[in-house]
């Protein structure tokens, strides 16, 4: 029973991190129609910024804020000075479908190489800001700590803030409108380019948050977020790519599947499980669980 209980809790806390990456990918996909593979690089770069701040100030909290802001700036910067020129240049031929994706893959390589030059390839670690000792339930210490609770809580707050932003503010309306139909939005006076950059910024911030929440329970190295990107992407696809709710649900489904298989069947099947879950969901619903009505066939 404790084992089951623990598996649920750990599924939730790893699912929460996938959810952040997944949301970061969904935000960019909605605004730009790009699967942003550079997200892993952006997130790990911002986490290195956080790491650097911790080395200087000793405070995780300052680092967390720095990473979120840094992530937003990097995201906006990439859209403005990298993606936009590519979209301008590449306008015809089949390459249009995949040029942006390939460009983000290239960018991922560049970011990871730069990190390698600046910080080296060695594993670094970030201390959890709050105790990572598991809670004691009826004399058994379970694999769920104050830090895990903090991760879950932070992700939940981030979700609420994002939902408020999207549903209750004019900016959110603009974000949704330009995701739904850039042309019409433009005609109705929304600065679509600026809004798109904002989407990238929010996505970058989410990635930075993900990094700062993920790394304390593992290590920091240039490829640290690659696996997370893959899981985040799978979760986003399960969720239907368009929907933030879908991203969160997809992440939780994936988190549960992986942890339960690892607990009850075999730890060697982590990656095959992710594939099986993805393909089962897509076979039933080819556009994911929460795909919008329009279901773009890009």
């Amino acid at each position: 029973m404790t084992q089951f209980f623990t598996a649920v809790l750990t599924s939730l806390s790893s699912g929460a991190i996938y959810a952040l990456m997944s949301i970061a990918l969904v935000l960019v996909w909605r605004s730009t129609r790009v699967v942003n593979f550079a997200q892993a690089g952006q997130a790990v770069l911002t986490t290195y910024i956080g790491y650097e701040v911790i080395q200087r100030t000793g405070s995780y909290w300052i680092a967390l804020v720095a990473a979120i802001i840094g992530g937003a700036i990097i995201g906006a910067f990439i859209d403005r000075f990298f993606m936009r020129p590519i979209f301008k240049r590449v306008t015809s031929g089949p390459i249009v479908l995949i040029a942006p994706v390939v460009a983000t893959l290239g960018l991922l390589g560049i970011i990871e190489a730069v990190i390698g030059v600046v910080w080296g390839l060695n594993n670094q670690s970030i201390e959890p800001p709050v105790s990572n000792a598991g809670f004691n339930v009826n004399g058994t210490v379970i694999a769920f700590s104050l830090f895990n609770a903090f991760v879950l809580g932070t992700v939940a707050i981030a979700m609420i803030l994002l939902t408020l932003l999207f549903q209750k503010t004019n900016i959110g309306l603009a974000l949704r409108a330009s995701a739904y139909s850039p042309e019409i939005s433009k005609l109705s006076g929304i600065r679509v380019d600026a809004v798109r950059t904002l989407g990238w910024a929010i996505s970058g911030a989410a990635g930075g948050l993900a990094g700062m929440l993920y790394v304390p329970s593992t290590y920091l190295f240039p490829n640290a977020m690659d696996v997370l990107l893959v899981f985040g992407f799978i979760a986003a696809v399960i969720g239907g790519l368009e929907s933030m709710v879908g991203a969160v649900v997809g992440a939780m489904v994936l988190g549960c599947a992986i942890n339960f298989v690892a607990t009850y069947i075999s730890t060697a099947l982590v990656f095959p499980t992710a594939f099986v879950v993805l393909i089962l969901v897509l076979l039933v619903r080819p556009s994911g669980l929460f795909a919008g009505k329009k279901g773009r066939s890009a």
């Binding site: 750990t10 004691n136 696996v227 060697a268």
Partner: protein
């Protein structure tokens, strides 16, 4: 019409290329017994990971070897010949290792390969580069794969490390002989690759029965969550179970941190394989010193932190002078030791250096070489096994490795069904100033 012209142009261009290639081509000299050796130089080569994830841990090996060779060169070289080491990066990638090793043989025309690192990488590189057919020696391979000691499969390799099955057998014997550990439950967590698989085979060979099926995880697949889940499950066993970890050091760190989180650091006796227990790395990865304290691990070298060891002392001095800025650790020790063995092998082969001569010299005199290893070297006409034993030590809070129970006991064995026996072997003392005089 245009198309015809194009076709014609294609034909002309192709003819020109062919002609150009004929002029430019260089047909390499046939692989010979003395390739890479001149009156004043010996050219050796290594393909090992210098970039990528494995590069982080092992990039120091070629540098340390080069430092030692530089030191020997500054002291007159080997029979008047200076040693150069051509080092290529393979990023621990099978494909790169195959091309880089082939390049060492065909383009760089090295005399021998030394200290090649990695099991899967060198296994394929060995065949792709045709080392057997070209009779190119591959000395002191840094891998615990027992196959490299098999002369029938790899006629020119000499293993540089004891094998993983040996390690597992020694661990099994250690558990069995220890009155505290023997009655406890025992579990194995292993990486689903050659470490783990060879290790499982060794435990099986030794007749050790784990209390449950081994927990295997794919490379890069052991997240902290999964590690915690696994430990929580194993903690249900009564008493103080022995937990054997057969993987890389970062995984050991992940598991130890999971134990910290679950307050299980004292629940288990941790027994980590030699590949997975670098104390400096464990501490750098944020494992608490109190957790590191008490971890048991196997080794065949002295501890790189043991400044009283004469080899460590000498190698540290060479490292400070010829390998500037690189801190001395177990990896540097390993690289220097391979280089020292190589120099002795070259000396033993004599003035008229040939590839066959070099291999014969190791077969006949290899077991008498001076080495930092605390286990004996087992080279002979019938054996290509390098070291064949381990001692068990316990890490302390400072990350130093001290003999278990205060007294160093060396166990020797083989990779198959041979018994594990306590050995009284005492290694040769280091030649004066660390310069071989054999």
């Amino acid at each position: 019409m245009i198309r015809n012209t194009r076709t014609k142009r294609a034909v002309i261009a192709s003819a020109l290329i062919t002609a150009g290639a004929m002029v430019l081509s260089t047909i390499p000299a046939q692989a010979a017994e003395t390739t890479g050796v001149t009156a004043t130089t010996i050219k050796l080569g290594i393909s090992s990971p210098k970039s990528g994830a494995a590069g982080t841990a092992y990039k120091k090996v070629p540098g340390a070897m080069k430092a030692y060779f530089d030191y020997i060169n500054a002291n007159g070289g080997v029979n008047g010949r200076k040693i150069t080491l051509v080092s290529h990066d393979d990023g621990y990638n099978v494909k790169r290792a195959a091309t880089q090793t082939t390049k060492l043989v065909l383009n760089d025309q090295v005399f021998a390969i030394v200290g090649a690192l990695g099991t899967a990488t060198h296994r394929n590189a060995y065949k792709a580069a045709n080392l057997a057919k070209n009779n190119v020696p591959s000395l002191f391979v840094n891998s615990g794969f027992s196959g490299f000691a098999n002369k029938a499969l790899y006629p020119t390799t000499f293993a540089g490390l004891p094998s993983y099955p040996m390690e597992a057998k020694v661990m099994a014997k250690f558990i069995k002989d220890n009155p505290v550990l023997a009655p406890q439950a025992s579990f194995l967590i292993a990486q689903d690759d050659e470490f783990g698989v060879d290790g499982i085979a060794g435990f099986k060979e030794a007749g050790h029965k784990f209390s449950d099926n081994p927990i295997l995880y794919p490379q890069g697949g052991l997240s902290s969550t999964i590690a915690e889940g696994a430990l929580a499950k194993l903690a249900a066993a009564p008493g103080k179970p022995v937990l054997v970890l057969f993987g890389t050091t970062d995984t050991t760190a992940t598991l130890l941190k999971a134990a910290e989180k679950l307050s299980l650091t004292t629940k288990f006796t941790f027994l980590a394989g030699s590949v997975g227990a670098d104390a400096t790395t464990l501490l750098a990865l944020g494992v608490k010193a109190t957790t590191v304290d008490g971890v048991i691990t196997a080794s065949f070298f002295p501890d790189a932190k043991d400044a009283t060891d004469e080899y460590v002392k000498q190698f540290t001095a060479i490292n400070t002078k010829y390998n500037k800025g690189v801190p001395f650790d177990n990896t540097v020790l390993q690289g220097m030791n391979s280089a020292m063995l190589t120099v002795q092998a070259l000396r033993a082969a004599g003035k008229n250096l040939t590839r066959t001569g070099l291999m014969n010299a190791i077969d006949t005199k290899g077991s008498t070489f001076a080495s930092a290893g605390l286990a004996p070297l087992n080279f002979s006409a019938t054996s290509r096994v390098g070291y064949n034993g381990y001692w068990l030590g316990q890490l302390n809070a400072k990350g130093e490795l001290k003999p278990f129970g205060g007294k160093l006991t060396l166990y020797t064995t083989d990779s198959t069904s041979g018994p594990v026996t306590a050995s009284t072997f005492v290694r040769k003392s280091i030649p004066k100033n660390g310069i071989p005089n054999n």
